[in-house]
């Protein structure tokens, strides 16, 4: 079974992706399953180790938090952009030491921070575990430090480690 479907979660998501792209029918399902198996093998050739996801139930919480954050920061940044003429805004660089080291978790964090307007991931220095961010509004530095350190990082650690 593991040889045939080395990454069951991945394959399942791929089938889902396939069905989203096409329309649901038995034929498409079979075709999609076949293809996802091939894709799964291809992936496992590159990455034989399975990323371990420990707690599934954290994921919905993460997604919900994220969506809400995205909405808020969209409004925030749009407002700043439109009113920037007044010249009160300052942007800033900030360094955040990260506890997580799992690369998948880091990737998810990158996705989260990028999807949230107002924060830009500049660099992650692997040997120090430091993340350098650029934030659009310097006044929010502490807020972001909190959000990363207290909200997202624990959740990601729960999921991946």
């Amino acid at each position: 079974m593991t040889r045939l479907v080395p990454h069951p979660v991945l394959s399942a998501s791929l089938v889902l992706l396939w069905l989203m792209l096409t329309r649901f029918s038995l034929g498409y399902l079979i075709l999609g399953t076949a293809l996802s198996l091939v894709a799964g093998w291809a992936y496992s050739a590159l990455h034989p180790a399975k990323p371990r996801v420990r707690r599934w139930r954290v994921i919905p919480r993460l997604v919900a938090t994220l969506l809400w954050d995205i909405i808020l920061s969209n409004i925030n940044v749009a407002r700043l952009l439109l009113t920037e003429g007044r010249g009160t805004r300052r942007s800033a660089f900030m360094q955040v030491p990260l506890k997580i080291t799992d690369e998948n978790a880091l990737a998810v964090l990158a996705i989260i921070l990028t999807a949230t307007p107002g924060t830009a991931w500049l660099e992650y220095v692997a040997d120090t575990g430091t993340l350098v961010l650029h934030i659009f509004d310097a006044t929010q530095a502490d807020h972001y430090r909190d959000v990363i350190g207290k909200t997202y990082e624990p959740m990601l650690m729960e999921i991946f480690e």
Binding site: L21, T22, G27, L46, E103, A107, W121, Y124, V125
Partner: protein
Amino acid sequence: MAEHNLFLLLACLPFATSLILLTLPQGARGASSWLSALSMAGGLAVLFAFLPEIQAGNVLRARLEWVPSLGMNMALRMDGFAWLFATLVLSIGLLVVIYARYYMGRNDSLPRFYALLLAFTGAMQGILISGNVLVMVVFWELTSFMSFLLIGFWHQGAAARDGARTALIITALGGLCLLVAMLMLGHAAGSYDLGMILRAGEKIRAHSLYGPMLALFLMGAFTKSAQFPFHFWLPGAMAAPTPVSAFLHSATMVKAGVFLLVRFAPVLGGTEAWFFAVTGAGCVTLVLGAVVALYRHDLKGLLAYSTISHLGLITALAGIGGRVALLAAIFHICNHAVFKASLFMAAGIIDHETGTRDMRRLSGLFRPMPYTATLAIVAAAAMAGVPLLNGFLSKEMFFAEAVDWHNGTWLDDALPYFAIVGSSLSVAYSLRFIATVFFGPQATDLPKPPHEPPAWMRRPVELLVLICLLVGIFPALTLGPIINTAARSVAGADMPYYKIAVWHGVNAPLMMSLAALGVGTLIYALSAKSISDGPEGPFLLHRIRGQRVYDWLLFRLTWRLPRLALRWLSTEALQPQLRLLVLTAIAVACGALWGALSFASDLRLHAPNPGFGLLWLVGAACAIGAAWQAKYHRFAALVLLGGAGVVTCLTFAWFSSPDLALTQLLVEVATTVLLLLGLRWLPKRRSEIAEDKLLPAKVRRARDLVIAVIGGLGIASIAFAMMTRPLISNLGDWFLGNAYYEGGGTNVVNVILVDFRAFDTFGEIAVLAIVGLTVYALLRRFRPAPESVEAPDQQTLADSPSLDDYLYVPSVVMVWMFPVLIMVAGYFFFRGHDLPGGGFAAGVTLAIAFLVQYIGTNVRWVESRITVLPIRWMGIGLLVSVATGMGAWLFGYPFLTAHARYVHIPLVGEVPAATALLFDIGVFATVVGAVVLMLVAIAHQSLRASRRREMDEAAAARKEVA
């Protein structure tokens, strides 16, 4: 019939012998000379077998079809004239063969020499006996070519090479002129058959092309017979081995020219133009040749110019063209051949035995070589026209013609004077030859001590001198009948018999002969000293030598001028060529459209969409920006190109072409990455090019800008004119109507690509595969610029993070994308027939999937995990597509006939199953292979460079340790 075959044998014998000779080993001297001599003798035997027929006035014919539709057949024809001439050629040829056996040195390859000689003989004989004027030209050119090889036989010497080349160029040029002349003749006469042409004289002379025809004909004849001003190749030709000279100067080559003049005199002659041109040239040549001959110090040079002079005489006779004149011409041809051959052989003996031909060094040879001297003296006397020798007789006839024949022109009146002057000079140079070489004090400083040659080297000369005497004393008994037969065959069968006699009584010609002898002796006596001390040529005249004029002209015309012209007319630089291409395209389009381009009366316009317009503002700005930046900011240009590209995609999508938008986008991605991969190997331009700011560069740019604007305007207006034209019914309509019913797919574009016009796609994947292979092959031999061998600047920064560090997080996502992109590729592949997508799109997608892995990690990482064998993919893809196409054969259908049907599968339902899908798999595999191959081949260069660096470092480290 036997006669016919004999005739063919005669024509082929020399060539066949030549081929056999070529296969003989170098050292086969005896065998080769025997074989050659037998061949010549065999030819003579055949000729003598024909004698009765010829004497009876019959014309022998033989015929082999070659290219009848062009009127060119191997027609052979022999009449008296041809017979006489052929006999002359073969007999002198036989003597030359014997002579050469002893003359040619140990190091010379006799078989090769004889092979050339026989091929030349065959060609010469071919001219004489061909019954078709085109075939005559064929042999004519062949003599030019063979004589080229013979003259250049001793090609180690520059003189031989130059002489050979000059001879070839002059006579081949003449040959080409002759060809055109013959074509005109044939056109005028309605046939290329010699007999027909000879009978069509009046028609030809009345033809509108007579003028050019005559001019070209004479070009041919004069160049070959070394008439002024084409005479200079002949002296140059004496660089040939003496047997060759003897042959060329006596019976062959130059005689071909006069043969032609005599042969065609009744056809083309009889007009004033002919007379002036031919006799005029003849007279000038007669005198000029004689003058120069007198001044030559080289023995063979003297003889060569004497030949020119005598040929002038014959030419002058041919120009007169009367019956007697023709007879005289024929007679002199024979006489000259005999004495000139013997003289050349004698000169050869002298050269051979003394080691020099310089008359200033030769002296008093009568004592050491009395036989040879006697022979040479008799022959020279014949040349001088001393009575009782053959030369006297024909010269006498020339004098008679000069005096008796009239056509009332000034040239006619001048003829006797030319004759006297020419003859006197002839006497003078003959005397000089005899006096300086054989008499006087015996030379002591000769390279070799002189003595008599081997007997067999002298035999041919003896025989020839004997003939001189026999003919000179008993002309009517010896040559009389056959000369008459020959003349009759040229001038007409009704020509009365002309009796050649030694004694005609005391008349004007005799007086002229005596005068010439006297004056000639006087000239020599007066000038002997000054000549031998002076330069090799008459006063002042030696400075303007034909050879030098020719060299000057040849150099200018065939080297300097073409090079100059080419420098103006062509270029090796790319830019002007592309400019010309663009300008040509603009020019032809303007030529077709100027004043004619009209727009439809009812323009088919769609209301402009602001969004579309806005984005094209960006697109256009990007295009112009890319054009602006491409020189110094390549990266910016690349990005701007991407901008223009994406707006192009938008256009495709906007105007209902999802397939195109999709494909263009995919290709766009691949192209950008490709260009970037290439950019790695283009080192930065360190300094701007100073010249760029100067005026010429600005002018160039302005000019190109104008061209570009015109081109852009042109193509835009054509596009506008077409787009706004009303719809017409076209192939597209049929495809729309039939894609589903006939092709079994709803995406018409895809059905076109994999079914209706699958053959295009079939070719297209071949192109991809070929380019993939080429890129791969080229990069196997890639040597980067020295500046770019090192790692790029970015990687050598002090504070530069490693690649792994840089890609630590991004690579995760990029590896995630691998299976996703595989799914997407599958998605595009399977829906292609009904919806946008297809094998190509899928293939590029999969290739990009691989590419992303290479970008996201590194080559070694990827290749240690997955092995892609792109060339295999390509091979298999191509084979799958071709096999699908050929599958149709099994059912009796043509290549690429698609079959589509719906297959019912339980639970799943109707599933489309089309062979087109199979074909698309081939496309898919090929595309994957080709795109991956190209990308990976370039990408590997970085790896190779870094491997090289590592090796160097390791080597350096080892060195340090050691």
